[in-house]
C-alpha cells in the first residue's frame, strides 16, 4: 500500500515538473518573440523623444535644414502623410467594402470565390511593384509626381485588408438576423446595408483602421510616385508631396548627424500616429468581448 502511494507521488511530481518546464519554455519563447517589438518601441522613444523636445513646435511645422547643426522640421512630410492616408481611404475603402460584401453574399459563385482568392493574393503582393504600377498608370501620363499617384498606390495596398475584414465581419453575424430581416420583407440591399453592416460595423471599422495604419507606414509604394517634398507643403493633389516614411528612408542614407536625429524624431512621430490609430482598435475589440 505504502509503496504504491510513494510511487504515485513520484509520478505526480514528475508530471508537475514536466508541466513547469513546459510553462517556463513557453514563457521564454513568447518573451523572445515580443522582445524585438519592445526594443523598437523603446529605442525609438529614447532617441526620438529628445529630438521632439529640442525641435519643439518647429519640428512639426518647419522644413528640412541643410546638413549641419540645425534640426529644422518635417512639416511637409506630416501634411503629406495625413493627406495620403485620407486620399487613399477615399479611393480604396468604398470599393473594398463593396468587394467584401460581394465575396460574402456570393461565396459559391465563380466571381465571388475568385474575388476572395485575388484579395488574399493582393494582401501579400510586393508593395514596390504596386508603386511601379502606379508610376506607369498615373505618374507618367500626368507628367509629374503627385499626391494622387501615391494615394492610388496606397489604395491598392489597403483594399484587400479592408475587403477581407468586411467579408469576415459579415460572416460572423448570426444567420438568424439575416433570416429575420428577409422574413420582414426587406430587399437584399436593405438586408445588407441596413441590418448586416450595422451589426458587423466593429469588424469592418477594425479593417479600415488597419488599412489606414498600413497606408501611413508604407514606404515602397511612394518611392516612384509622390516625389517626396521637404520644403513645399501642399500645392494640390496633382503635385508632388512628402511622406514621413519616405523622408526617414532618405535621411538615414546620409552621413550627417542632424539628418539622423530628424529621422529618429520622424520615426517617433510615425509611431505616435500608429498608436493613435491602433489604440482605438484595441478598445473596440475589448468592447466586443464584454
Amino acid at each position: 500500500m505504502k509503496r504504491s502511494k510513494i510511487k504515485m507521488n513520484i509520478i505526480t511530481n514528475k508530471r508537475k515538473l514536466k508541466e513547469k518546464i513546459f510553462l517556463i519554455t513557453i514563457f521564454i519563447l513568447s518573451f523572445l518573440t515580443i522582445l524585438p517589438l519592445f526594443h523598437i518601441l523603446i529605442s525609438v522613444f529614447v532617441k526620438g523623444f529628445p529630438v521632439l523636445i529640442k525641435g519643439g513646435i518647429d519640428f512639426l511645422t518647419g522644413t528640412l535644414p541643410p546638413p549641419g547643426q540645425e534640426l529644422g522640421g518635417i512639416g511637409p512630410a506630416i501634411v503629406g502623410t495625413f493627406l495620403l492616408v485620407f486620399l487613399s481611404s477615399i479611393l480604396g475603402i468604398p470599393i473594398a467594402v463593396i468587394a467584401g460584401i460581394f465575396a460574402y453574399e456570393y461565396p459559391n459563385s465563380f466571381i465571388g470565390r475568385g474575388t476572395k482568392l485575388l484579395l488574399q493574393i493582393m494582401m501579400e503582393f510586393p508593395t514596390i511593384l504596386v508603386g511601379l504600377f502606379a508610376m506607369y498608370i498615373v505618374v507618367v501620363p500626368l507628367g509629374t509626381y503627385s499626391a494622387i499617384a501615391g494615394a492610388f498606390a496606397l489604395a491598392i495596398i489597403i483594399m484587400p485588408y479592408v475587403a477581407i475584414a468586411t467579408e469576415e465581419a459579415l460572416r460572423e453575424v448570426p444567420k438568424d438576423y439575416k433570416e429575420a430581416a428577409y422574413s420582414l420583407g426587406l430587399t437584399k440591399s436593405q438586408v445588407i446595408f441596413r441590418v448586416l453592416i450595422k451589426i458587423a460595423r466593429r469588424g469592418i471599422l477594425t479593417g479600415i483602421l488597419i488599412g489606414m495604419a498600413k497606408a501611413a507606414g508604407e514606404t515602397a509604394p511612394l518611392l516612384f510616385t509622390i516625389g517626396g517634398s521637404t520644403r513645399v507643403f501642399f500645392e494640390g493633389i496633382d503635385k508632388p508631396i512628402g511622406a514621413i516614411p519616405l523622408l526617414i528612408y532618405n535621411l538615414v542614407q546620409q552621413p550627417y548627424e542632424n539628418y539622423h536625429q530628424i529621422a529618429w524624431g520622424a520615426a517617433l512621430l510615425l509611431l505616435l500616429i500608429y498608436l493613435l490609430i491602433f489604440i482605438p482598435i484595441r478598445l473596440k475589440l475589448r468592447e466586443i468581448k464584454i
Binding site: T61, L64, P65, P66, P67, G68, G75, I78, V79, F82, L83, V85, F86, V139, V140, G143, T144, Y145, R201, R202, L205, L223, G227, G228, S229, T230, R231, V232, F233, F234, E235, K239, P240, N250, V252, Q253, Q254, P255, Y256, E257, Y259, P280, K284
Partner: protein, 358 residues
C-alpha cells in the same frame, strides 16, 4: 452608435488637420517651384545650396528628391523633374534620346573623392602603392604584415591578420569610379575584373570579402570588423572618423584626400571636361590618376543635367540658381565638409549654361 460617432469624430479631426496645416503654413504665398532628382552623393551639398539660395530668393522653392543617378536621368527623360544630378556623365545613347526632346546641357557642379579606408587598431597613416592596392583588392596579398606592405610602412606595427575587403553590395557609382581607377592602374584588374556599377570581387571567392549596402553599410562593417579595408565617399570617411590611407598618385607621391590634393587634381584635368552641349564625350577615367605633384588620384565630378529651353518663369529661376551655385555657392562657407569646390575654369562652364538657358 458609439463607434459610429467616434469614427465620424476622428474623420473630422483628420480632415481639419489636413485643411488647416497647409493653410497656416503657406498663407497664399506666390512662388515658383522647381524640382530635381538623381544622385544621392551630392544631395547634402545641394540641400545646403538650396537652403541658402531660397533665403536670397524667397519667391522660389526648389525640391530635390534624390533616388540615385539612374532614377534622376529617367525622371528627367520622362519630364517628371526640371533638372537631374548624376555622378557618372550621361552616356551617348541616352544623350541622343534626350536630344530628340530638346537641347541638353551637362556640367559639373561639385567635386568628390573616394577615400581608401581601413580598420587596423593603432596603425594610422597607412601608405599604399598602386600595385599593393590592386593586389589587396585582387586578394593576392593575404596578410596585413605582408612584406610589400611592410616595405611601404617600415615604422608601423602591422599585425599578422588576414585582410578583409569590404565593398558595396548594391549597384553604385562609387564602385564604378573605384573599379575604373583600378582598371586604369592595373592591366591585370582590367582583364580579370573590369569596371562597372557592380563587379565580381575576386576576394569574395577567397572568402575574405564582405558586401555592405550603400556607403553607410560599408562604414558599419568597417567599424565593427578589425583588419578590414574598403572604399567610401570622402564625406563619409570624414564624418565617421575612419582611418584614411595615403595612396600613391601618378607621379609616385603618397597623398591623402583633402581640399588641396583634390583641387590640384582637378586643376590638372579641367581641360578634359567637354563643352556643355557635348556632355556625352565625358568619361569617368579622364579625371582619375591625374598628373600633378600632390594630386589625389581617385576624384569624380557630380553633374547637373538641364534643358536649354524652359517655360519663361522656370527659365529665369534655373538661370539664377545655376549662376548662384557657380559663384556664391562655391565659396567655402557654403561648401559642406567632404566636398570640394570647382576650379574656376570648370565653374565657368556652369555660368555659360546659365547664359544660354532660355
Amino acid at each position: 452608435m458609439m463607434a459610429n460617432k467616434r469614427f465620424k469624430l476622428s474623420l473630422l479631426l483628420i480632415l481639419s488637420i489636413l485643411i488647416l496645416l497647409p493653410m497656416c503654413a503657406e498663407k497664399e504665398k506666390k512662388y515658383i517651384t522647381i524640382s530635381g532628382s538623381g544622385a544621392t552623393f551630392p544631395q547634402p551639398q545641394l540641400e545646403k545650396w538650396i537652403t541658402e539660395f531660397m533665403k536670397e530668393y524667397p519667391n522660389v522653392k526648389i525640391e530635390y528628391y534624390g533616388g540615385g543617378s539612374g532614377k534622376g536621368l529617367n525622371d528627367f527623360k520622362k519630364g517628371l523633374v526640371d533638372f537631374a544630378l548624376s555622378d557618372p556623365p550621361v552616356k551617348e545613347s541616352l544623350w541622343r534620346e534626350l536630344e530628340k526632346k530638346g537641347q541638353v546641357l551637362q556640367f559639373p557642379i561639385i567635386v568628390g573623392a573616394i577615400a581608401i579606408v581601413y580598420n587596423i587598431p593603432g596603425v594610422d597613416d597607412l601608405k599604399l602603392s598602386k600595385d599593393v592596392l590592386v593586389d589587396i583588392f585582387l586578394g593576392k596579398i593575404e596578410y596585413w604584415d605582408d612584406k610589400r606592405i611592410k616595405e611601404l610602412n617600415p615604422d608601423k606595427n602591422l599585425p599578422h591578420e588576414k585582410i578583409i575587403v569590404v565593398h558595396r553590395s548594391d549597384s553604385s557609382g562609387t564602385t564604378e569610379v573605384f573599379t575604373t581607377y583600378l582598371s586604369l592602374i592595373s592591366d591585370e584588374w582590367k582583364k580579370k575584373v573590369g569596371s562597372g556599377k557592380v563587379v565580381d570581387w575576386p576576394v569574395d571567392k577567397l572568402g575574405r570579402g564582405l558586401g555592405g549596402r550603400g556607403n553607410q553599410g560599408v562604414v558599419a562593417i568597417l567599424k565593427q570588423t578589425p583588419y578590414t579595408i574598403g572604399y567610401v565617399e570622402l564625406a563619409y570617411a570624414i564624418k565617421e572618423n575612419l582611418q584614411i590611407a595615403y595612396i600613391e598618385n601618378a607621379e609616385g607621391n603618397f597623398v591623402k584626400p583633402n581640399k588641396d590634393t583634390i583641387k590640384e587634381a582637378m586643376e590638372n584635368v579641367a581641360a578634359f571636361v567637354p563643352d556643355i552641349t557635348r556632355g556625352y564625350e565625358e568619361k569617368v577615367e579622364m579625371f582619375l590618376n591625374a598628373k600633378g605633384k600632390n594630386s589625389y588620384p581617385i576624384v569624380a565630378f557630380s553633374h547637373m543635367i538641364v534643358w536649354k529651353d524652359y517655360p519663361d518663369e522656370k527659365a529665369e529661376v534655373i538661370k539664377n540658381f545655376i549662376r548662384w551655385i557657380m559663384t556664391k555657392g562655391q565659396e567655402d562657407k557654403y561648401i559642406v565638409t567632404g566636398y570640394v569646390s570647382l576650379p574656376t575654369r570648370i565653374a565657368e562652364l556652369g555660368l555659360k549654361a546659365a547664359e544660354i538657358i532660355e
